[in-house]
């Protein structure tokens, strides 16, 4: 095992993260970094596409995008004039479970940023003309998505892995579900779903914890949790019993994108770390792990071929993605299947597991060097309730993973004969333009 020497005091822990909860249910996390004259703000509210009516999928996302289009205190023009004049940035979007925000400013401009955030979340006006402007932007993004081989292969993969399930549907919806959304739908979504209860806000940068709490208190303290929205649970999903193959034809494309995989562990599952270590060996370490080595380095079939483990609260997915010439599609699929077969039939080597552990631990200071990196990590801690000392315990958690656990976990989740395999590109069997 290679020795990685890290001063753990550089990493956030219980002694330098401040966490408090306002009476209205807002959780505030912060960590000061006085060597930085800027701040990063991020967080979420507890509503997302899970609350969308199926025929109006994309409602939560549409609502989030409209929050900065006008508020009681400022018009669209005034909001962005304030932000852009001071070089601040501010963005919102919705995922399945949450509607999230993130923003960045010089520390001196944090009060302004907090006021804009509070107005956006609490007092948006949803002007009619902006509804149509944002709708046109969404429709254009759908038209561009329909031509994007990587996004289409991904979307088809999610649809087949999570049939009739919120995880199987795109959070931003489809043209036919965004077209019927009216202003009333947006207003009532906002009124019935946006609540301080369960809201999380993280501030990291050149500011003290007490100043952060004061600012949040001032902007959000009087927001009463009048509504108690019902939070739909999500149903669990069975993993595929045999392989499912689907191809989306998009004419005129030079490259075909491929996604293959199955379910993975949820974030707090005991299987998570063995799967994460295994995933790194399979398709991330160095130049995209074993799969990158076989598909890109040895066979020269693809510019990229790598794996990802996506773990959420109750479910997860384990995926391989690659971009290949249409002629090489089947060859790439076969190579990936044979790598997965090897991965589930024999343990990884000592060198592989040591390298990966060393990589996981050694990369922490890099993740944490910027305010944005620390803020994202604190949000992660809160979202999955990992504990404030999580990043200090992390090395021990990683070190405890064994080769046997990696193999057992791989066998539990990955079956080379039961994968969802999707691709998007020109019709199968048609040539690209490489001889």
């Amino acid at each position: 095992m290679n020795n990685v020497t890290i001063n753990w005091k550089h990493l956030p822990g219980a002694d330098d993260i401040s966490r408090s909860i306002l009476p209205n249910g807002i959780t505030i996390l912060s960590r000061s970094n006085f060597s930085s004259p800027s701040v990063y703000v991020t967080g979420y509210l507890n509503c997302g596409s899970l609350q969308d009516p199926p025929e109006k999928l994309g409602l939560a996302n549409f609502t989030a995008h409209l929050l900065t289009r006008g508020s009681e205190k400022r018009s669209f023009r005034e909001i962005y004039d304030s932000l852009e004049t001071v070089g601040a940035s501010f963005g919102m979007d919705a995922s399945v479970h949450t509607s999230g925000f993130s923003a960045k400013a010089l520390t001196e401009d944090l009060p302004l940023l907090m006021d804009i955030l509070s107005q956006a979340l609490r007092h948006p006006t949803f002007p009619d003309d902006h509804l149509e402007k944002v709708r046109a932007q969404l429709l254009t993004s759908f038209a561009m998505r329909a031509q994007d081989t990587s996004e289409m292969a991904d979307m088809e993969f999610d649809r087949l892995l999570f049939p009739d399930h919120p995880y199987g549907r795109p959070e931003d919806g489809f043209a036919e579900t965004v077209l019927p959304i009216q202003r009333d739908d947006i207003v009532s979504f906002h009124q019935s779903q946006y609540s301080p209860e369960g809201m999380v806000i993280v501030v990291v940068g050149g500011i003290s914890a007490s100043e952060v709490i004061d600012l949040v208190q001032k902007s959000f303290g009087d927001w009463q949790p009048d509504i108690h929205p019902e939070r739909n649970g999500i149903s669990l999903v069975e993993k595929p019993e045999q392989s499912i193959r689907s191809h989306i034809t998009i004419p005129g494309m030079s490259q075909t994108d491929l996604v293959m995989g199955t379910l993975g562990p949820y974030r707090t599952s005991p299987d998570y770390f063995p799967a994460a270590v295994g995933n790194n060996i399979l398709g991330q370490f160095g130049m995209m792990g074993r799969i990158g080595d076989v598909v890109r380095e040895k066979a020269g079939l693809a510019y990229y071929a790598s794996t990802s483990l996506n773990s959420w609260k109750q479910l997860g997915s384990w995926e391989v993605s690659a971009g290949v010439n249409p002629d090489n599609l089947q060859k790439a699929i076969d190579l990936i299947i044979s790598e997965i077969s090897r991965f589930v039939s024999e343990p990884v080597t000592d060198e592989e597991i040591d390298d990966t552990k060393s990589n996981f631990i050694g990369r922490l200071p890099l993740v944490m060097e910027s305010n944005g990196g620390v803020a994202g990590s604190l949000l992660n801690i809160e979202r999955f309730q990992l504990g404030l000392d999580y990043y200090r315990q992390y090395p021990a958690i990683v070190q405890a993973v064994t080769k046997d656990q990696v193999l057992e976990t791989a066998q539990k989740y990955l079956d080379p004969n039961a994968l969802v395999i999707t691709s998007a590109g020109i019709a199968k069997g048609k040539n690209g333009h490489t001889p």
């Binding site: 852009e84 070089g87 601040a88």
Partner: protein, 430 residues
């Protein structure tokens, strides 16, 4: 913060920039070579980028597959990029493991293997990268407009190269390109982070001091002047979305007009990102073109792009046209907005605002060691490190008269390329 900056040139010409930053136990190393698509000739386009790929294929001391594992093992990140004027490689590592990165960059400056089989397997990887780009409508439009914007200069080619060249380039073409341009006198080595300057400089002297410049005398490259006439380019391809691109000849980075042009760009299309890592992100919703096009529902997105280069390159404005509107309507408004800048002086507070936006971006970018090391070398590729150090001050000093003069000089309708991407609603089978 106690940051010391040191610049030193070795006797073989290698320029070394070092900046101590002790906020995190990290070091980022960048090595920059003055070679990119600018240095390529017809029939051999894409050489610089492919050479960059080959530099990951091993040296006698660090065989292929050993390098990437060695970096990853310590939690480091590394990558490389090739552009018009330069090729750059970086490694960001925990401070106590930087030795490895320093040794490997010295090794691959002069002894990369260029094994024939590796060249062949990388050929299909590079072709695959190009095919991925071709899937994107904006790449297709960009390629056509760039080609129309230059008669002779190599800036006319995409960095990745022409497909026919990628099919015909040989191992020796790559190796000669490498040997010619990967020389100490053609490189800048930059380190930023948690180290002692004297100690690092000794290591660098030891590893690089003995390297020689094998081939000297790079061919002279003739810069290209104004675009003659208005050139129109239409690209047809799959999709449903229309894109419009206007390209004007732009001043090179060390041209006296460059900073006034930067203000112009910021007013028209919004502040351009200054950081390669962990910065940027200021929106452009109050910019003139956003207000005139997106707010008026003629477009769903617009941005401008001015890039610092050695020779005059291009100023691009790209518009994503509203699904119910036409490219022609967009062009009328673009011309109108440019005319306003030529007819009327901008306010001085608009200039102050652009300068503050740049300052904020520098602050965000400074959090990131990789980005700090990036800035030191990047500026050397087309000017000097001072160029970056003085950036915000120089923006502040620009006057409304200068912005007006730059708009009149450089943004002329009879010296530009007008590109339109025409979607074929699904396109044709290849």
């Amino acid at each position: 913060m106690n940051n010391t900056f040191t610049s030193h040139r070795l006797s073989n010409g290698l320029l070394v920039h070092l900046k101590e930053i002790h906020t995190a136990p990290l070091i980022s190393q960048w090595i920059w070579y003055r070679v990119g698509s600018r240095n390529e000739i017809k029939g051999k386009t894409g050489l610089s980028h492919w050479v960059e790929h080959m530099q990951f294929k091993g040296t006698p001391s660090y065989p292929a597959g050993v390098l990437d594992k060695a970096i990853s093992r310590f939690g480091g990140i590394w990558n490389a990029m090739t552009y018009l004027d330069w090729t750059a490689y970086f490694e960001t590592m925990p401070a106590d493991h930087i030795q490895l990165a320093i040794e490997l960059e010295a090794s691959r400056m002069h002894e990369s293997t260029y094994d024939v089989e590796e060249v062949e397997s990388e050929r299909t990887v590079v072709i695959s990268e190009r095919e991925g780009n071709e899937n994107i409508p904006i790449f297709r439009l960009d390629e056509a407009v760039q080609r129309a914007a230059f008669d002779e200069h190599a800036y006319k080619n995409e960095v990745i190269g022409e497909m026919e060249d990628l099919l015909s380039i040989k191992r020796d073409d790559l190796y000669h390109h490498y040997k010619r341009y990967y020389a100490p006198s053609n490189a800048v080595l930059c380190l930023a982070g948690d180290f002692e300057t004297r100690e690092i400089l000794e290591k660098i002297e030891k590893l690089y001091g003995g390297l020689k410049n094998e081939e000297t005398g790079n061919p002279t490259i003739q810069p290209e002047g104004a675009i003659e006439g208005e050139r129109k380019v239409e690209v047809k391809g799959p999709g449903e979305t229309v894109f419009v691109r206007l390209s004007y000849r732009a001043p090179q980075a060390n041209h006296p007009d460059y900073f006034a042009f930067t203000i112009l760009d910021s007013l028209l299309g919004g502040p351009s990102p200054m950081n390669m890592f962990g910065g940027g992100g200021i929106s452009n919703k109050t910019s003139r073109l956003y207000q005139a096009l997106v707010e008026k529902e003629l477009a769903v997105g617009v941005n401008g792009s001015l890039q610092p280069t050695i020779d005059p390159y291009l100023y691009d404005i790209t518009v994503t046209v509203h699904p119910e509107k036409k490219a022609e309507d967009v062009l009328v408004v673009l011309d109108d907005e440019i005319k306003k800048l030529q007819d009327t002086f901008v306010q001085s507070d608009e200039i102050a605002r652009a300068a503050k936006q740049a300052r904020a971006q520098f602050v965000y970018g400074a959090e990131n060691i990789t980005n700090q090391a990036f800035w030191m070398g990047y500026a050397e590729m087309f000017a000097h490190y001072d160029w970056f150090e003085e950036y915000v001050d120089r923006l502040r000093k620009i006057t409304p008269e200068e912005v007006n003069r730059v708009a009149c000089t450089w943004l002329q309708a009879d010296h530009r390329v007008v590109g339109i991407y025409i979607p074929e609603n699904g396109g044709e089978e290849a």
